[in-house]
Symmetry: C2
Subunit: 326 residues, 2 copies
């Protein structure tokens, strides 16, 4: 059976594993990214992570058919280049694909990390049975990836699926990390959940469990605490969670009225919020989307957790090999 290495480069760690042709991953390995040590060192760490992943699978490089690498943007996907990602400072114009390809002498695919995660979920996760799927990743930011008929929608300028930076408020919108106003990310990321809660607590007239938590030293508010408080019945937290579900429903509806996929999948740390949160998103979508897609579009949580990135990167390597052999 053919085997691939998938490498997911994040701002904090790089994670890789050998993935077989059925999408099953061997033991994953990870190494700190330490971008401040420079991009030359970064490229070496990528190669080392790949080697360790192969060793962890009790294989040698000769057993590997192709490699896939996923990195955060900004990037030029077609050119295989990292440009200047905010999470990988001070890297700039790093020829990732060509470097990896040269070091290992193997077909190497290069992809945006959220796109790769979407492709992983599409291959063997939540979307494995459908022809088209959109993934929203909910973490400190909101990422996105779009897969239609087995193809990642990369876009002409590597900006396909930047769903966190579609605007849901043309006026008076919240400030986004990207510097613009009104982006979905400014409303629906874990960061925004915390910020909106801080604001609500500051102006709250009724007591909240979270007010107490906040006065305890050294316990900064987290999205997790807020979702837990909502489950425990805290009214303020419940309103924040409900608003978050609504913002995500607006984001989902906008992509349903643009791409109209079979399925919309939510992944990332925030889905630890559980099934009630997912149901709230579904209910809001039913209220605001056109009747047919509202009724028929499946809305689900992702299934691969943080493995989606390297599994999807491996899937990109696999697809590269397949299309080369056509």
């Amino acid at each position: 059976m053919l085997r691939y290495v998938g490498l997911d480069v994040g701002g904090t760690t790089m994670k890789a594993a050998v993935v077989d042709d059925t999408g099953h991953p061997a033991t994953a390995v990870s190494i700190p990214t330490e971008p401040h040590l420079g991009q030359e060192r970064g490229l070496e760490t990528m190669c080392e992570t790949i080697r360790r992943a192969v060793a962890a699978a009790n294989l040698t490089m000769g057993d590997i058919a192709a490699i896939g690498v996923a990195t955060p943007g900004t990037m030029d996907i077609a050119a295989g280049l990292i440009l200047d990602p905010p999470n990988l400072k001070p890297w700039r114009d790093v020829p990732v694909r060509d470097h990896i390809e040269k070091v290992f002498g193997l077909p190497t695919a290069f992809q945006n990390d959220a796109n790769a995660a979407a492709f992983g979920e599409y291959w063997v996760g939540a979307g494995r049975a459908v022809p088209s799927m959109v993934l929203f990743t909910l973490g400190t930011g909101v990422g996105g990836g779009i897969i239609i008929d087995d193809h990642v929608l990369e876009g002409r300028h590597s900006h396909g699926g930047e769903l966190g930076h579609t605007r849901i408020a043309w006026k008076g919108g919240r400030l986004c990390g990207c510097g613009q106003l009104g982006c979905l990310e400014a409303y629906a990321s874990a960061t925004s959940v915390v910020q909106r809660t801080e604001e609500a607590l500051a102006s709250a007239k009724t007591p909240s469990i979270l007010s107490e938590a906040r006065t305890t030293p050294n316990t900064p508010l987290t999205a997790r605490m807020i979702f837990d408080a909502a489950k425990a019945g805290d009214a303020l937290a419940q309103e924040i969670v409900r608003d978050t579900a609504y913002f995500l429903a607006v984001g989902a509806t906008n992509v349903m009225h643009t791409i109209d996929p079979d399925m919309v999948v939510f992944g990332g740390g925030m889905i630890a919020a559980g099934d009630e949160f997912l149901q709230q998103i579904r209910d809001f979508v039913k209220e605001i989307a056109f009747p047919v897609p509202a009724e028929r579009t499946e809305i689900r949580y992702a299934q691969l957790g943080s493995d989606a990135g390297f599994i999807g990167a491996a899937a990109c390597g696999r697809q590269l090999l397949k299309s080369a052999n056509k």
Copy 2:
């Protein structure tokens, strides 16, 4: 050379022409749709419009290789069915494709009208040199069509490219004709241009050319009058036009951060507003989109006018024939 008939069914008229393999249309013909006469009669009128188009080109049906029909939604594109379009009441569940195919014994394609217009512009209009293109049609409503690598993005439930019904205001948005709040169409259609002007005039402190126009009997305000007043230097009209350009820039940016096409094209009656309006849209996009797509995505006016629909319908017939012959 192969020839096709493209038929564009609108709420008021049906328009058709023979289109040759280079996208050149022969003389177009049109017949009133009169949907109130019922859908059986509607199907007959479609066939009659096709026959007259062939006659107008001095050809016979034997000269035609395929037919394409475009209709307004709602519809089931894959099934070739009109469902219950608001513009074609009281039609319901009309098997357009199968009927036309049976009557003429020719391969028949069926497509949404805005998608067809986009495919027409992609084939021989504004987008003829690019691999991917998004069209916004600006008329009484705002329609959309998305073409990627020679394929119409129909969507899983025939709702691909419903760009007028993506939301640009999650809260306190304007009421849209679809019954929802905050849709792009509620801000950027010709209808909205007039409504927003009426509202501005009602609360205006400074005089406007348009206040006078309004007090003249039997001259209801039109988008055209408002764009003309803006060109003539009227401050109120200029603000309305500028806001409209901004709303469209938000819509364009959202689709650029989702699809990331080579080109965004604006078509429909409202582009009579002229080049200054287009430049305003471009300038706002440069302000609010990510730097690379902001810099590189071409933003243009459509070139085929109201012929885009039947030319695009013919293109769908042509594509059907080509894929059948593969």
